[in-house]
Symmetry: D2
Subunit: 351 residues, 4 copies
C-alpha cells in the first residue's frame, strides 16, 4: 500500500515535533512535507528546529527543507498546529485549496460545522464535514481535536454521560509545562511555585465549553450541545508532560460508587473494531491505588494514548470524585490529531 503523504504545519513547534516522532514507522502515513513560519522556511528541518524529544529526529525528516506554511503544500492531508493568531486564516486557506486539514489549533473547534473529534467518543460527528464542504466550496475541510485538558477530562465523562447522565462537572487541573509550547514558562516562575489560571483564564473557558460539543449530538445538520454545567480551575505545575485533573461529578441518575467506576473501566468504543494504528487498547485504565494516577508514572501508558484514572470516591458535595492523567502532547495533541486522521482514512474521507 502506498502511504498517504502528511504535511506537517507548524512542524518546528512542540506539537509538530511530536507529530513527526509519532509518524516515524507509521503503517499508513508518512511525512512528505514540513512547513513552518517564514523565518524557518528554506532551512533544513534539523537546523530550523530546537528538537525537544528524547528520540532523535527521524532521518528522512531531518534533511527536509522547511516550506512556508501556505496553500500548495505537497501532501494528501495536513496535520496542523499553528499558533492561535495565524491558525484561523491559514487553516481556512489550506482547506479551501482542497486539502483535508486535521488540526490541533483552537480557532475552528467551535464552528457550527467543524467536528471537534475524539474518535472513541464522537466519531458520528464526522457527518458535519459534508455541510462544511458546501460552506467552503471545496473538497478540502477542517477537523479539529479538543484542547489537551479537555481530552483527558472527557474520556471518563463519556461513559458517565451515556449511562447515568451528567448534571455537573467540577475540575481542578495541574498541567504540564509542555502544554505551553517552547520556550513556554519561565523557569523562574515555575521553580518552587504553581501558577494559576493558564492563559489568564482562557484555558478554563475552553475546558468549560468544549466538552459540551463533544458530548453533544449532530442532528439535523447542526450540533446540539450536551446540557452539563462545567467548572474548571486550571494551574501550571513543574511537570514536563502529563496533565492531572481532580474531577467531581453530579449525575442525573442515582448510581453506586461501584457502578460509576465500572462504567469508566468498561469503556468501549464503536471504533475499537476499526484497528486504527494509534488507538490504545484499552482507551482508559482505572488504577485502584488512592495515590494514582501520577503524571510521571502514568502519562506513558499505551504509548501516551491511554487515559488513566484513579479510584472513584464519594464526593460530599457533588456525587463522586476521581482523578485523571493524560499525556498532553500525545493523547492531548499530536496523537489525537493522528488518530483523527486515521479515522478519516478508514472512513474514506482522506486518501
Amino acid at each position: 500500500m502506498r502511504k498517504l503523504r502528511a504535511g506537517i504545519v507548524a512542524a518546528t513547534g512542540t506539537v509538530g515535533q511530536r507529530m513527526i516522532q509519532l509518524l516515524e514507522n507509521h503503517p499508513w502515513f508518512e511525512v512528505s512535507t514540513v512547513a513552518a513560519s517564514d523565518n524557518s522556511a528554506g532551512k533544513r528541518y534539523a537546523d530550523a528546529t530546537r528538537w525537544q524529544l528524547e528520540t532523535p529526529i527521524p532521518q528522512s525528516v531531518a534533511k527536509m527543507t522547511v516550506q512556508a506554511s501556505a496553500p500548495g503544500l505537497d501532501c494528501d492531508f495536513v496535520l496542523s498546529s499553528p499558533p492561535g493568531e495565524v491558525a484561523e486564516q491559514l487553516e481556512l486557506q489550506l482547506a479551501k485549496s482542497g486539502l483535508p486539514v486535521v488540526s490541533n489549533a483552537s480557532s475552528h473547534r467551535m464552528k457550527p460545522d467543524v467536528p471537534l473529534l475524539i474518535p472513541e467518543i464522537n466519531a458520528d460527528h464526522l457527518s458535519a464535514i459534508e455541510v462544511q464542504k458546501q460552506r467552503l466550496g471545496s473538497k478540502g475541510f477542517i477537523v479539529t481535536n479538543p484542547n489537551c485538558t479537555t481530552i483527558g477530562l472527557v474520556f471518563p465523562l463519556a461513559p458517565l454521560q451515556n449511562r447515568f447522565g451528567l448534571e455537573a462537572v467540577h475540575t481542578v487541573t495541574m498541567q504540564a509545562l509542555s502544554g505551553a509550547g517552547y520556550p513556554g514558562e519561565s523557569a523562574l516562575d515555575m521553580l518552587d511555585n504553581v501558577v494559576p489560571a493558564i492563559a489568564l483564564g482562557g484555558e478554563d473557558n475552553k475546558v468549560e465549553t468544549e466538552p459540551l460539543k463533544i458530548l453533544g449530538r449532530w442532528a439535523e445538520n447542526r450540533f446540539l450541545d450536551a446540557s452539563i454545567r462545567i467548572s474548571a480551575m486550571t494551574h501550571r505545575v513543574s511537570v514536563r508532560d502529563g496533565h492531572l485533573e481532580a474531577v467531581s461529578v453530579k449525575l442525573k441518575q442515582k448510581a453506586t460508587r461501584d457502578e460509576v467506576e465500572a462504567a469508566i473501566r468498561d469503556f468501549t468504543s464503536p471504533i475499537d473494531e476499526l484497528g486504527l494504528p494509534s488507538a490504545p487498547r484499552p482507551a482508559i485504565v482505572v488504577e485502584s491505588h488512592i495515590q494514582r494516577p501520577q503524571p510521571r508514572i502514568d502519562r506513558d501508558r499505551g504509548k501516551g494514548m491511554t487515559v488513566v484514572t484513579g479510584p472513584v470516591m464519594a464526593c460530599p458535595v457533588l456525587d463522586f470524585k476521581f482523578r485523571v492523567v493524560s499525556h498532553n502532547t500525545i493523547r492531548g495533541a499530536a496523537g489525537a490529531a493522528i488518530l483523527n486522521a486515521e479515522l478519516l482514512f478508514r472512513r474514506g474521507l482522506i486518501g
Copy 2:
C-alpha cells in the same frame, strides 16, 4: 515584664524549628527548654537538629541541652508538635502534670472539650477549657490549632459563613513539601510529578471535618458543628512552603460576586484590638490579578501569617470560586500555635 518561659516539644522537627525561629526576640515569650525524642536527649540542640531554615539557630537555643519529652519540663507552657503516634499520650501527660499545652498535633483536635483554635475566628471556643480542666483534674490543659490546610481554607470561609451561610465547600489542594516534615517526600517522587491523596487520604479527611468544629459554636458545654458539606482532594507539589487551594463554595443566601469578595476583603476579628504580637494586620489580603495567589510570591505576606486569596469568580457548578495561599509552617503550624499562646496569655489562661 518577665517573659513567659516556653518549652518546645519536638523541638528538632520542622515545626519545632519554626517555633524557635519565630520566638527569637518575641516580646512576651522566651524558649526555656527544648525537648525531643530519646535519641536526641542529652545532646546540644545545635548538634541534635538538622536545621532547615535560612536564618541561623538563635544563639541561646543552639547551646541548650535537649531534654526528653516527658512531664517535668522547666517552663510555663508547652508548644508541642510531636509525631502522631506519640502525641496523644505525651500531651495528655503534660497537661495532667499541670502544664498548658499549646499543640499543633492532631490527636486531641476533635476531642469534645478541646478548643480547635484560630484566634481571629473562634476565640470564644476557649470556654471549653474549664470543662476540660475538670475532666483532666489538673490546672493544665490542651489547646490545638488546626491542620495547616484547614487553616488557610477557613480564613476566607469564616466571613462567608457569617454573612451568607455556607451550604457546601469543595477544595482541591496543592500542598508544599514542608508539610510532610523532614526528610518527608523523596526527591525521586516529587521531581517532574504531583502526588495525590496526602497521607493516603488522611489529609483529605482532616480538611473535610476540622472546619465544621472551627466554624461551629460552643454552647451548653459542648461544641455544635457547623452544618456544611465539605469535599477535599489533596495533592503534594514541588513547592517548599505555601499551600495553594482551589476552592468553590455554595452559599445559603444569594449574593453577588462583589458582595462575596467584599466580605472576604473586609474580614475583621474581635481579637484585632488585643494587639497580639503575632496577629497579622490584615489577616486576609485579596489580590485582584487572576493569576494570584501563587505560593512563592504570596506565602510570606505578613511574615507568613497573612492569608492571601485571589479574586472571587462565578462558579458554574456551585456559586463562587477563588484560590487561597497560606504559609503552612507559619500560619498553618508554628505561628498558629504561638498566636494561640498569645491569646491564652491575654486571657489570663497561661502565665
Copy 3:
C-alpha cells in the same frame, strides 16, 4: 538455546529494578529468582517492591515470590546490588557456594583478585578470576562493575590513556537523584539547591581511585594501577537520571585539540566483534554543540548504554577539557552488570 537463569539479589532496589527491566526479552538470560532482605522475603515481587520505572513490571517477575538473599538461590549466576553494609559478606557467601556473582556493589571492587570490569575497556582483567577462585576454593567468583560516576568518566579517558598517556584528571560531577537509591534524597534538600560531597566525600574517593585499577594492567597475577593523579568533587543535582561531569585532563604526550577529540570519537573496543546484546554501538558519541551533553537529552542514547561527551576544548590550566553524560542506573549500574555477565558468558566463564 536454553537461556541462562539469573538470580537478582537486592531485586527490589533501584538497580535491581533496572536489572529486571533490562532483562525482559533478553536473548541469553532470564530472571529465575528474585531475592531481597528478610522483610521482603515471602511476598509477591509486585507487592514487595515500590516500582519506580515507566515501563510495567515484567509479568513473569511480578508474580515471583521474593527469596531471602542467601546461598542456595536457584540460578546459574547472580546479578547483585546489595547495600554496602551487607554486600561484602553476602557476596562472599554466594561465591563460595559456587555461584558466579556479577556485582554492582563496592565492597569487593578493589580486592586484589577481583576484576573491576568494563568490557569495552579492560576485558583482559578477567584473567584475575582464576586466582580468585583459588583463594575462595570455589568454582564461584565475584566480578564487579565500577561506581556509576567512574564508568562515565573512564570511557573518554581510556582512549586518551592509550594514545597520549594521562598525567592528571580533574572532574567535577553533577549527579542524578537515582544514584542515591530510593527514597534517597529528601525533596526538601534538593528543591532549589545543589548538595556537595556525595556520601560525605566517599563518592569523591571512589572516583579518584577506581579508574586507576580499570586503566591499569593485570600482570604476573596482580593488578598494576595506572599512574594518574585524579581529583574529584561530587555534587547531587535535581535530575532524575544521568550523571554530568566537567572533566579536565593533562596528557603525557603533546596533542592537538583535534587529535584528542578524534581519539575519543574513534574509540573502538576488542569486544565490539563479540556481538554482546547490551553493548552499545558506538560506545561513545561526541556531540559538537558547546551546550551538550545535557542529562535529559543525552542520557538515553544507545538505550542508556552509550556515553556522550561534548566537544573537546583547550583548558588554560591543564591541557584539555570536555563534559560527559552517562546514564547512571543503566550504563553506570544495571546495564554495566548485565554487560559484564554477557562477556562472562561469551568467554565461557558462566553457563
Copy 4:
C-alpha cells in the same frame, strides 16, 4: 544629611528590582528616578515591571513614572544594568553628560581606564577614574562591578593571591536561574536537567579574564593584570539564587591546608573601617562541614553580601580545592553596585 539621589537605569529588570529593594531605607541614598526601555517609559513603575521579589515594591518607587533611559535623568548618580546590546553607548552618553555611572553591565569592564571594582579587594583601582575623566572630557565617569560568577570566585582567591601567590585556578560553576534575568531560561530546559556553557561559553570567558584585572594593579596610569592561568566551565542548574563554584587552585608558594583555610577565614579589607552600609562583616565565612556551602542554605548570609566557602581540601591535581557560594543578584550584582557607590561616596567621588 540630605540623601544622594540615585537614578536606576534598567529599573524593571532582575538586577534593577534588586537595586530598588536594597535601597529601601538606605541611610545615604534614595531612588529619585527609574528609567527603562522606551516601551516602559511613561508608565507607573508598578505597572511597567513584573516584580519578582518576595518583599513588596517600595511605596515611593511603585508610583514613580518610568523615564526613558537617556541623558538628563534627575539624579546625583546612576545605578545601571542595561542589557548588553545597548549598555555600551548608553552608559557612555550618561557619563559624558556628567553623571557618575555605577554599572553592573559588562561593556566597559575591561576598558583600560575603567575600574572593575570590588571595594574589599581593589579599592585602589579607583585611581583610574581621573584618567578616564580626561578621556571622556567630563566630570562623569563609569565604574563597573564584575560578573556575578567572578565576584564569588575572587573573594577566596584574593587572600590566597596576597599570601601565597596564585599560579592557576580551575573553577566549575553551578549557577542560579536569576543570573539569566527574566524570563531567562525555559522551564522545559531546566526541569530534570543541567545546561552547560552559559551564554554559549561567553560566561566562561568572563570568569577566565575578569579576575586578572581585579587581582592586578593600577600603576603608572594603567592596569597590570595578575599573572594567573584560569579555567572555567559554567553550568545552569535549577536553583533560584546563589551561584555554587567548585574551585581548585595551584599556589606559587608552598602552604599547608590549614594555612590556606586560615588565609581565607581571616580575610580583612582596608575598607572595613569605612563603615560602608552594605559592606558585610565578615565578607567571607568558611563553613567546616564537607557538604557546605549549599546555595539555598548559604546564599542569604550577611543579607546576601557575605561569600561562603566550605572547608579547604587537598587537591590531587592542583594543590587545594574548596567550594564557594555567593548570592548572584545581591553580592554578584545589585549589592555589588550599591557597595561600589558607597565607596565612591566615602571617597568624595560622588555627591
